[in-house]
Symmetry: C2
């Protein structure tokens, strides 16, 4: 917990549950990432946390933005970003939304299928397009399905087809999977990407950009490689596969930019056992899967949890949320331990919750209000 | 699709995605359930769909209400329900919320642990309390964790303890699991409940009420027993286990009351393949896991999906939502088939979506607005 956040909690004692984000940490993350990848352009993945305070800060620092929808594009523009700094990175877009983005000045679009490419050519003529390829997602904590990207062979065909349409075949993108801890995954994806670049060059199409997506992790309960290590591994892989003809590069950090900048404070609503000889206590918090902690799905993301009583003896607990939904259990298998003398009414700090929390929270499930947030 | 909903879509052509609920179907469901269980009091589980239109309708029909939070209690009061028709059925409540409910006139509270019982006694003196027991949830489609309820033995002890506090030990509740298709589950739970009643009577505590929870299913892709069959099975089980001393009974239908009353209309945003020889097409809709279809988690709830091109040849598809989250895949293993000539821009009807959709939708994940709904 940063001093600034600790002071905010102490002075304001805000109603729980609430998220507090330290904007200084976001700025530091931006600086670290641009330091580690000095040749890459940073496109912040707005979906991770679209708060205007974060968008304004990053606009000021020189960031560009990866957006998923027209409202996200409008939010970036409202924060002061010019449209040339905005990528419409969703591969699933309505024709009307592509047109609207184009009218707003956006000229960089993602696709991974023929139909999407045709929609872009028809509604955003002259724009630069990049094709997303499938990667395995091995080593990532948050599941990477086959939802995005296409086979490299199909990517080649589609980029060639793009050259015949009224768009600029600009590059290739991939995503190694969110919270990716295996540095070799970037190498594998860059190897495939370089092969596509060579093939297309032979056919007279010069691609210029590699979008390496996100995947940069936040430290949750276990250590992750440092930003510098990612920078070094990526730099090395670029040299290995592109030699002295390294293309423009883009990265799209979301979690890696804001994850560790935020802390959720929550209250213990109930502590109980299911029977007299139950070995594990149930600890129910006033935030759960539907109030902002959706990424606890299948216990994928395991946030560090701190209490004011840490230090003494602790025992295993099952953690759950406050709704009447039986699926609203946070951690049952992940072996969390909390202090034996934890009490109902205690506050707990759920760390590294700056990303994928506020915007995930349900409108009013069970009558609970969406997660309140403060950006300081 | 009811005629009323079909006409609404045809005449209004509302922007997608949107949910339309036919209130006549809700009224019909209420009548059927009260017909099938004439001796039970119906407490509608507000969390299933807290729309004021539904609450007002059910208030008028004579329903009572099972609520999960103070805002849900306030919604019921605003809809015209008197506090004696409201149960605070969440077993996880903050002391301040219990007090607030008490101030609003609520006198019926759930608990499943000693700490919760003590909170109720301290903050809602004189109220009736019922203890929820654990059940297996076997046969239910939506997962029933061990989150709610306690061992029958502990329930006995706690109800005895309640008699010594300033509350009325009123009864026992259980929940057989949502979308429960095995009628025998009520029998098993009622057998356990009757044993608790007998034990407490021996100790001089006369319980008066059995809260049989919800679990009444909606017809999704597969047939479910009819309301009458549930009524018959429950009636028989009550007689078997309680003889001629059948207690007051409560049921808490949510899904069974509003599930089949609603239809979501969604637009096909993209149809694609991942490679030239991909066997299954991906169909991306403008609604997904984070826009209201949260119950597709692990493909638990499988909504019937209809298109305007049904009837001709169909082929297997993978269905996914519109967000940039790779977890936003609706059905990959559930073997959905859609027409071969389905086109981008087509509208599809996602049936039986009146329950657990609107209130589950995310505030603005990926910039997408929460699910719009119309009650007609």
């Amino acid at each position: 917990m940063t001093e600034k956040i600790a002071r905010f909690f102490a002075e304001n004692r805000p109603a729980t549950p609430c998220l507090v984000v330290d904007l200084d940490v976001v700025a530091r993350n931006y600086d670290r990432l641009s330091g580690a990848l000095p040749d890459a352009k940073i496109y912040y993945a707005v979906k991770a946390n679209p708060a205007p305070e974060i968008l304004r800060l990053l606009t000021g620092l020189g960031s560009s933005f990866d957006t998923a929808s027209v409202p996200e594009i409008e939010d970036c523009l409202a924060a002061g970003a010019t449209p040339d700094r905005i990528s419409y990175g969703n591969t699933i877009k309505k024709a009307a939304d592509i047109r609207r983005a184009y009218e707003l000045g956006v000229r960089l679009f993602a696709f991974d299928s023929e139909a999407e490419l045709e929609k872009i050519a028809a509604n955003a003529p002259g724009s630069r397009v990049f094709c997303r390829i499938l990667t395995s997602g091995e080593g990532a904590d948050w599941p990477l399905s086959r939802k995005f990207g296409c086979d490299p062979e199909m990517a080649r065909d589609l980029l060639l087809r793009a050259a015949a349409l009224d768009v600029v075949p600009y590059g290739v993108s991939f995503h190694v999977g969110s919270q990716q801890r295996d540095l070799a995954q970037w190498d594998a994806a860059l190897s495939t990407t370089a092969a596509i670049f060579r093939d297309l060059e032979e056919k007279g199409v010069a691609l210029r950009m590699v979008n390496m997506g996100g995947g940069f992790p936040t430290r949750y309960r276990t250590d992750v490689p440092g930003t510098d290590e990612y920078g070094f591994a990526i730099d090395e892989a670029l040299r290995r596969h592109f030699g002295n003809r390294i293309p423009e590069t883009i990265v799209e950090p979301g979690r890696g930019m804001v994850g560790d900048a935020g802390i959720i404070q929550s209250e213990v609503v109930l502590i109980s056992r299911k029977s007299a000889n139950d070995l594990r206590r149930w600890v129910y918090l006033d935030i759960g899967k539907f109030g902002g902690l959706a990424e606890t799905m299948d216990e994928a993301i395991q946030y560090p949890i701190e209490t004011e009583r840490d230090g003494g003896p602790a025992e295993p607990v099952i953690l759950a949320g406050p709704t009447c939904d039986s699926a609203d259990v946070l951690y049952e298998r992940a072996e969390y331990r909390l202090p034996v003398d934890l009490r109902i009414g205690d506050r707990v700090a759920i760390r590294a919750t700056g990303a994928y929390t506020t915007s995930y929270s349900a409108v009013n499930f069970n009558g609970f209000a969406p997660l309140q947030a403060y950006y300081i």
